[in-house]
Amino acid sequence: MSKVASFEINYTRFLDPQGQAVGDLPSFAQDPAALIELYRAMVLTRAFDAKAVALQRTGRLGTFASSLGQEAVAAGVGAAMAADDVLLPSFREQGAQFRRGVTMTELLLYWGGDERGSDFAGPRQDFPICVPVGTQAPHAAGVALALQLRGEARAAVCVIGDGATSRGDVYEAMNFAGVRRLPLVFVVNNNGWAISVPRAQQSAAETLAQKAVAAGFPGRQVDGNDVIAVRAVLDEALARARAGEGPTLIEALTYRLSDHTTADDATRYRDDTEVSARWKEEPVARLRTYLVEIGAWGKDDEEGLLADCDREVEAAADAYLATAPMPPSAMFDHLYAELPRELEAQREALSQSSDEGDISG
């Protein structure tokens, strides 16, 4: 008997849960301004999530998925990606989307039940939120194949959750990405829970990162609550992708401090003591501690930032709440490039029954 294959999975962390640097930081992190940008992105995301949950609790927003505790994953992804890369998110990557130019008003419109929320004015090629878990992974392979066929030095980034790694089409996409050496980075936001099913019941694999090994490309683990590490590992994976060296899978270990969505009640299946322990590892306080220790951040900065975020979030919420619904017949507007004659009667019937003339003014 002889060994024909072996693998190892490396883990990257630069800031420990107490905000202390572990070894030398990557070069971008030598510049406090770059760290402050990451910090702002996380604080803004947390403020947005809090506002969105509040809007839902008061009946002014539909079901919403908070990213509480996982802000570093999205902030790291958003900061590492180039403007002309393509993001294919799941439904908890608002922090990355904001960095890429998706507006808070757009995402509130989406969760508030309006298709216009996915017509991003900013990143026109980015995919919208994907609710059927993991089904965007094949799209990401298709986008990456398009970039590769055109010979462009661009990459696609597909973010999925730990639950999605159990799905066949995620593996199918990874397998194809490996075969074609696609410029594609898979990011697994492993927040420990797929609604009520814990990571241990999702897979017997020691790491989710090693699922890349079966597809023939590298998998890495990163402390997903350390935004510096997430950004650094993404930088390397994106550089590999753009250089034609193929895909990478990054498993970001983080924790879902919130319910799955506003429609979920995690106390039904999860012990509060587990959650409170995890609050000690969350990413925002971790980076703040470090910034304060190196003298790059103070009380006034913090108060100013919180006020800025609050103002920005409130303005976005106001804009969302002030947006009138589309006329009912809008459901026919983008069904096909050109509405088939067969459907004109249905649209006409809807317009008349809904008294659309009054609504559209």
Binding site: E115, S118, P128, T135, P138, G142, V143, E172, A173, V179
Partner: protein
Amino acid sequence: MSEITLVEAVRLALARAMSEDDGVLVLGEDVGPDGGVFRATEGLLERFGAERVIDTPLSESLFAGLAVGLGAQGFRPVVEFQFMGFIYPAIDQVLNHAGRLRNRTRGRLTCPMVIRAPYGGGIHAPEHHSESTEALFAHIPGIRVVIPSSPARAYGLLLAAIRDPDPVIFLEPKRVYRAVKETVADDGQAAPLDACFLLREGHDLTLVSWGAMIKETLAAADALAESGIEAAVIDVATLKPLDMTTILRSVEASGRCVIVHEAALAGGVGAEIAARLADEGLTSLLAPVRRVAGYDTVMPLPRLEAHYLPDSERILAAARETLEFA
């Protein structure tokens, strides 16, 4: 110009579309050196190269989803499924994504993709190779379902499907693949989508069908003509969206209608046509609308499939009952 089979017409249309538009890609299992299990993509690899004729791993959900990503990036992928029996993993991608990406992004991202699959029975194929489940797709909003019934219509409709800016499920009746030859001009002329083809005029009865059943239906119409009955024959061709205008116009004249499909009866596209006739053509009808279809059974293996598939005898029997209804 020469006489070619339906599968050759498919190949001709693929080559034409690929030569006209660099964005047209062919993907699927065995579409490369092997030229596809029915040889529909034969020669395309040599002519257009491995960047445009892509053999994929054996993963149906993947290549339907790949097409969504490629389409959103401006390519026009044409994906081949080897048999309709293997298309079901792709329903998730078609229903949840391809059919709705344009709508959910308000036109920002679109899916100009074609899914091709051989479908239907009658060639003594193994299990899972002979079903006609077009109704599953005809229920999905935002897509087109197109079924050619002759080489010329296969050429024109496939060109139209590839050029169409929205997703098209293109189902090829494999029983017809090599059964007939027809002169097809490789002139790049697309046939109209969303329109039925009136194959035969007639004011006594309207026969509505598609795919491989067109041959049986035309044979029934010939037999009726021998006894002086002129039956119109309509090839629906695009099942979604459905051109009811042409069907209603014919039934207004004939007052009698028989719908023929090899798919199972319950919930088939024939049920939609019959419902629409009841809804919009009732005052024209002189007899109940009849459907001649496959049974609501599992598609039998080859020894019994001839008993399952409608033939001209069954169509004639239904036609006579309809004509005799007073």
